[in-house]
């Protein structure tokens, strides 16, 4: 007799597809936030699967910080080309030039991308934004709903979340309000990697290990390039590294790794002892409540 039990990866995939279809069926104007990182790529891959053989019935939006790895942009363009999905770009640099936001002293554009994102959402009238957030990433995310309600300032109120019972999602909003939707809520980092491998998904090559010229700063390894040039007194060395997350190119560190294939990455992730944000994102280390504060302002 057949067991009729879905494996955990297929269960997660089915749940994500269910969520995406629900949003498209109920919301006026959804949009998928696409950073070019692995989680947003998995989301787009799932969107393609959810609506096949039709095209993805909503646009993707890239909030362009201007601090991009070229390989990430190339990969984004390949996805757009292959899937025929509509791409919207919201530029942080343009927001700086117009005086909408100001550059932060530490060079991070993580925080100032929020007003740029919210402005674009308003301009296009998006009422549902798909984000690639996972609850295993960080404590504040562990409490977030799949359908996360935002007021007309795009703010999240952790004490005023809608109860989410069974898979009966409630996306009803008033004019100006919106929801953020997290189809990958129940995935872990390992699930993402295992899925990327199982589905042979096209990724930027910086996720795979190769020899990179790097410099060590505060326990983190930064590649020596135009965004993170060598400072005086530092010496570079060549090490085999890969990236675990993709953020601003001037702040994202890589880790030492021998994983030149996705399978190798899966094996390394299974054995790893640092959560991905803690290991390679300088911008989350500021305070223990850093993520909670940013989310309340409207950040993903």
């Amino acid at each position: 007799m057949k067991s009729h039990v879905l494996s955990q990866l297929r269960s997660l995939e089915a749940e994500s597809i269910h969520i995406m279809r629900e949003v498209v069926a109920e919301m006026e104007r959804p949009c998928l936030l696409f950073s070019g990182g692995k989680d947003s790529i998995v989301m787009l891959h799932l969107a393609v699967k959810a609506f096949a053989p039709a095209r993805v019935p909503f646009p993707i939006m890239h909030v362009d910080t201007g601090l991009n790895f070229q390989t990430v942009l190339d990969c984004r363009d390949r996805w757009v080309e292959r899937t025929g999905v509509q791409l919207v770009v919201a530029s942080v640099q343009e927001g700086i030039d117009r005086g909408l936001v100001q550059e932060e002293p530490n060079g991070s554009r993580n925080r100032i991308q929020t007003p740029v994102l919210l402005e674009a959402v308003e301009k296009h009238g998006f009422d549902a934004l798909f984000g690639g957030g996972r609850r295993d990433e960080e404590k504040a995310r562990a409490k977030e709903r799949v359908f996360s309600f935002r007021d007309d300032f795009g703010q999240w109120d952790p004490k005023n979340q809608r109860p989410e019972i069974w898979s009966l999602y409630n996306g009803r909003v008033h004019q100006g309000e919106s929801i953020r939707v997290f189809p990958l809520s129940n995935w872990t980092e390992l699930d993402i990697w295992a899925y990327l491998e199982a589905e042979e998904i096209d990724l930027p090559d910086l996720y795979l290990a190769k020899e990179r010229e790097v410099v060590e700063r505060g326990g983190m390894l930064f590649e020596v390039n135009g965004f993170t040039p060598l400072k005086e007194g530092e010496t570079a060395e060549v090490r085999s590294t890969r990236y675990r997350t993709v953020g601003d190119a001037n702040l994202t560190a890589c880790v030492e790794s021998a994983a030149t294939t996705l399978h190798g990455v899966v094996e390394e992730v299974a054995a790893v002892r640092l959560t991905e944000r803690g290991a390679t994102r300088g911008d989350d280390k500021v305070s223990e409540a850093a993520m909670e504060d940013r989310k309340k302002e409207g950040y993903f």
Binding site: H4, V5, L6, S7, Q8, L9, R10, S11, L12, E13, A14, E15, I17, H18, R21, V24, A25, V48, K49, A50, F51, A52, P53, A54, R55, R135, D136, K139, A140, A142, K143, P158, K159, R162, P163, E164, I165, W166, S167, L168, N170, R172, S185, N186, T188, L190, D191, A194, A198, E267, A270, A271, V272, R273, L274, T275, G278, A279, A289, E292
Partner: protein
């Protein structure tokens, strides 16, 4: 600090198993200080699911507070307000995996005002984990949580009698609690009830068997959860396919395609099966069950698929595909138990709400409040005229369109609904159709 880093065991062999194992969802409930967060922290820690930087942060905070040991509850008490008050105020989801299974924990707060969170966490759970403080025994909250778990149809209940280290690992204490709990639970419908004596703080019977309780011959908590048979809990008999979305590509390469996308709520569907479409009431045959990876030979819960039918029938979102000789009840009158979840307004007779049942929205008017259930005593108050936050009641409603329902006890998908306030758009109630009719 007595805690040390777990050793790596990430071999490629166990990895393949990790990813191919199935999924078990469990909800935890307990009183504010009976050690629930510590128990979860212990499960995450002993199953090597927490990471060096998370542990480092917990150790640092514990040290700053002058604690003698790493406070594992800090791993799960996420939001700042909770850390300040030392309580958990919302449902938090945690993940860990062993070579046998992936686990999703819905960690819900135990105190009175947050019953709605327990209902939320239990709604999708295969297992409810109930903590009882060995020194305090079965308290009001233990009863309430068990009642809510059975109300939400959670098929397995595991009672962890915690803090056994503080009662000298006394078998008598454990047996007394077990007897009292079993007596109480016999008035509810608990299909599978298990008791485990543990100390979350020290780690007894959580992941490894405790040498201090040789009198206990059951499994430690983790092995119990790993071995629990949940596949047979799912309804594979009654085919219910709520249509979620109609896929009709407006593209030259797939112009004639018309597929009904949805998630199989229950039953097993195969191409060639005769099916009935509701509310149209027309029969046809399943032509194909499509996925992006190609057609499949059968579809069962919780698969997300796209069904193509042999005949052109007018079917849209909110409709239901089932078998001709096994259809749900088509009705505009709903008799259900509800949990009220809104703090700003109560449920009153005569008020109208939006109702979402499977993929179908309609409007519903509350016709009768039959009774309110006291979740502590299970007493029915038939005089109740309004239902407030965290209260449970049985009500009768009239709905503007027919719904395709089963009793919640027979089907957790087609027996469930939510009510939404039409003015605020807030989800205000969780509803369970037709029951469960407890013997109390």
């Amino acid at each position: 600090m007595t805690t040390t880093l777990p050793e790596d065991t990430g071999t490629s062999e166990t990895l393949n198993e990790v990813v191919s194992g199935d999924l078990l969802r469990f909800a935890t409930a307990g009183s504010v200080d009976d050690g629930k967060s510590t128990l979860i922290g212990r499960l995450l820690f002993d199953s090597k699911s927490i990471f060096a930087d998370q542990l480092e942060s917990v150790e640092q905070v514990s040290k700053d507070r002058g604690n003698d040991y790493a406070d594992l509850s800090l791993l799960t008490d996420g939001l700042r307000a909770e850390r300040e008050q030392g309580i958990t105020i919302d449902v938090a989801y945690r993940y860990f995996a062993t070579p046998k299974r992936k686990f999703i924990i819905a960690d819900t707060p135990g105190h009175t005002q947050y019953t709605r969170n327990m209902v939320t966490g239990a709604s999708t759970a295969d297992v409810a984990l109930i903590l009882v403080d060995a020194r305090k025994g079965v308290v009001e909250q233990s009863r309430r949580h068990t009642f809510l778990a059975t109300l939400l149809g959670v098929p397995h209940v595991v009672v962890c009698v915690n803090k056994m280290d503080l009662v000298d690992y006394d078998e008598q204490v454990f047996e007394q609690i077990r007897a009292e709990f079993t007596e109480f639970a016999s008035r509810l419908r608990v299909p599978d009830l298990t008791f485990i004596p543990v100390s979350a703080l020290v780690g007894d019977n959580v992941v490894t068997r405790s040498e201090k309780m040789p009198w206990f011959d059951g499994s430690p908590l983790l092995s119990h959860l790993e071995r629990l048979h949940v596949a047979s809990d799912r309804n594979l008999v009654d085919v219910r396919f709520p249509v979620q979305y109609v896929i009709r590509p407006q593209q030259t390469d797939a112009r004639d395609y018309r597929g009904y996308a949805g998630t199989v709520a229950s039953g097993v569907m195969k191409p060639g099966d005769r099916v009935l479409a509701l509310p149209a009431g027309l029969e046809t045959t399943i032509e194909s069950i499509d996925t992006a990876d190609g057609p499949v030979a059968e579809a069962y819960p919780p698969m997300s698929v796209t069904v193509r039918l042999a005949d052109e029938i007018d079917i849209s979102r909110g409709d239901m595909i089932c078998r001709p000789n096994n259809a749900p009840t088509v009705t505009q009158d709903v008799d259900a138990q509800i949990c009220w979840m809104d703090e700003s307004a109560s449920l009153v007779q005569g008020k109208k709400y939006a109702i979402k049942h499977t993929t179908r929205w309609a409007r519903a008017m509350v016709k009768t409040i039959s009774y309110r259930v006291d979740v502590n005593t299970l007493h029915r108050d038939e005089e109740a005229t309004e239902i407030k936050l965290n209260e449970i009641a049985r009500i009768k409603m009239r709905v503007t369109k027919p719904l395709f329902v089963d009793s919640y006890q027979a089907n957790r998908q087609t027996g469930a609904f939510i009510l939404v306030d039409e003015a605020t758009n807030k989800t205000v109630a969780a509803g369970m159709i037709g029951g469960p009719a407890h013997q109390y």
